[in-house]
Amino acid sequence: MRVAVVGAGITGVCVARELSRYRVEVHVFDAKPDVGWGVSKANTGLIHACYDDDPERFPVRAKACVEGNRMWRSLVEELSIPHSWDGSMVVGDEEDLPRLRELLRRGIRNGVPELRIVEARKLEPLIKGEYALYAPTAGQISPPQAVIAIAESAAINGVRFHLETEVKGIRVKSGEVEAIITNEGEVRVDAVVNAAGLKADEVAGMVGLPMEIRPRKGEYLIFDEDAGPKPSHIIFPVPSERSKGVVVTTEVSGHLMVGPNANDVQDKEDVSTTVEGLREVYGKASKLWPLPPMNKVIRSFAGLRPEPRGGDFILGRTEVGGFYNAAGMRSPGLTAAPAVGKELASMIAEDLELDRKLRWKAGRPLPVDGGGVVCRCNLVTSGRVRWAIERMRFLGVKTPSVDSVKFRTSATAGTCQGSFCRVHIARMLAEEYGVPLWQVTLKGKGSELGVGDVKALVI
């Protein structure tokens, strides 16, 4: 028996890891050079408490979110995923109390523990607002590192990753999936999981199923490590229908981060930041928290939410035999992913009558350090970079990219944004991958570090 997972985002890797507990061959395909480079690499990284998913309107989301939040608690320990359980606060004034109570009641219906309305400044003295819905079970992870950790754990248990491999078609015979067609060839399969993020509608279209996923952009600002004040909780405004609003948080790496806004866009590849968008983010965040000036920003970035028509996740069996959706994973898709993975895997195991493996490994190798410091801002050693490169190879990363090292080590993500160390990391990548230095990429083919060797142009 063979299962193909389309998409190595947080959803796909969670499905794959859960499937690896069964006796079945699992292959994960992703068009990008490394795992987690779609929606999963650019988001807020919050493990939501799950009080704002209306259980009547979005039952799938509400259930998976609560379950996912619980599962992350052990997952971060098992796989050494950087995390913090700070708790979140939805902050408002006197006139917002009815809205806060509404969220509280919704949380109670969803089964979220320990929610309460508090005097905001008792918990967070600098917060701008009188009252807050406090959710102690909310936390944060580093999303790209989480995807990598879960993918590695899956790989350790036999899952095979095919990167830079785009699924171009799916062959269906008498109502059952038969094979997937990729740029690298065809593979016969017994089941396909559509975890293709923003492009899940395209993949559903390959078996003739209708689906609509629209991109909604969210932009962020990250401040220098030494810029503060920094909150010790995750701070939300009172949410709107469209989104949970611009958040202020001290992210796992210790930087103050604000965002995202929410703007509908057309292009599913367009993750550019905009002047207006970043201004909006800064403005909205300053209503919640006293922000450092804009010149303390060390990075801005944007991500796209895969918004499904109707607003709820699209999970499970379809009219096409062997074709399963894990799609429309908008927020809180990161929180929900472990639960979604478990649910999908047990569904597939049931349908394909799979047995559980007798032996299955839970952990993954711990990072190795040593050698001199390469990234001075985040104190990443050369030993750690070499370890990251080895892990890239283990997962089957074909194109050497600085971003692959960044997501495994946090090198280049500090105050100077790699202006000192990018070249040193690239040199190690060039050496290990046996390519000329200028051909090492920043983030995959087409983003090479240089255009050739010096003098290449004049000769």
């Binding site: 993750v271 002047v275 970035f301 001199g372 230095l437 995959g444 240089g450 255009v451």
Partner: protein, 389 residues
Amino acid sequence: MDVVVIGGGPAGLSAAIRAQELGLKVVVVEEGRLGGILPQCIHTGFGLLTYGEDLTGPELAHRLINSYQGEVLRGHAAGLEYSYHRKRVRVITEGGTVTLEAPTVIYAAGARERHAHEIGIVGDRVAGIYTAGEAQALMDLYGVLPGREVVIVGSGDVGLIMARRLSLEGAKVKAVVEMLPYPGGLARNLMILRDFNIPLLLNHRVVEVRGRGRVERVKVVSGSKEEWIKCDTLLVSAGLVPRVKLLRRAGAIIDERTSGPLVNDRLETSLPGIFAAGNSLVINDLVDYAMEQGRIAAEGAEEFIREGGIPSQDWVKVIPGDNVRSVVPQLISPGREVIAYVRPSKPLNDATLTLPNGRVRLGVIKPSEMLRVRVKAEEGGVAHVEIQG
């Protein structure tokens, strides 16, 4: 050990050499190459004031390295802990972490470059965006050509030198974009623009980058006008920022005007026995000044050790006035003539500098050229430093 010097660039090496001359036992902590920024600056323009010779960066680095016979610890100083008699410097080396202890520290860790995110450039985060120093290292240390069609942000010396370097390599520099109404660089470097026919866009800002894998075009604005320039490379040369993370974390007061530590005329920071020099004290356009600061700091360290501390006094506060962006040192001893570095805030044609001890006719001045002056102030006052146009 008497003094730990953090950073083996021109400021740190000069400090170490002077400290040895004064009989102190020194260790220099350096994580990269001795010589700091010098080995990658293959152009001339170094050391004219110190040696009366126009040297290249590597040549000057050689001289300094050869004159220093003391100990060097290879590694990254990752922690600095202050107590009056003992400073602790935690160094991560190839072989593990080493902790150095000494009564004095000279902090000469240089500067870092401002990058695209910090100056508010938005758009796509793609390949082809470099700081000038990164591009320089790529070309001159590792033989990589960064790009073919280049837009440079900032008309300071570093940007101009890179414009020449890239042009000589056959790349096309399509524009040097400067936010201010006047160019930043030294006159001799501005000649580069003429030599290579490079347009200088004053009063312009690069605000956005677009491209899929690599830069394809950048948006340049001036007032309400905006224009896209096609290019594959954006070089950011928007100034340097002193690297003061260790000092700040140890508790030193940082001057908002220089972004470096607040110091007295011994170049001692607000933490007794910790001195600063070179680009981590204040951004120097001339290496000679960075080296001089290293020597002053070394003399301060020697005095600290000899006297058990810098003598107490009623420090005179230096107040930057009209047309002065910053002055270092910020505190001076009453009745003692000391060297001060003054950064003008705008270009003037016929400027006069007013100090507590008199006036100096300066002629033409520019913010890119730091002024080195001798200042003396009397007890019980403040020292106003201002420039009249």
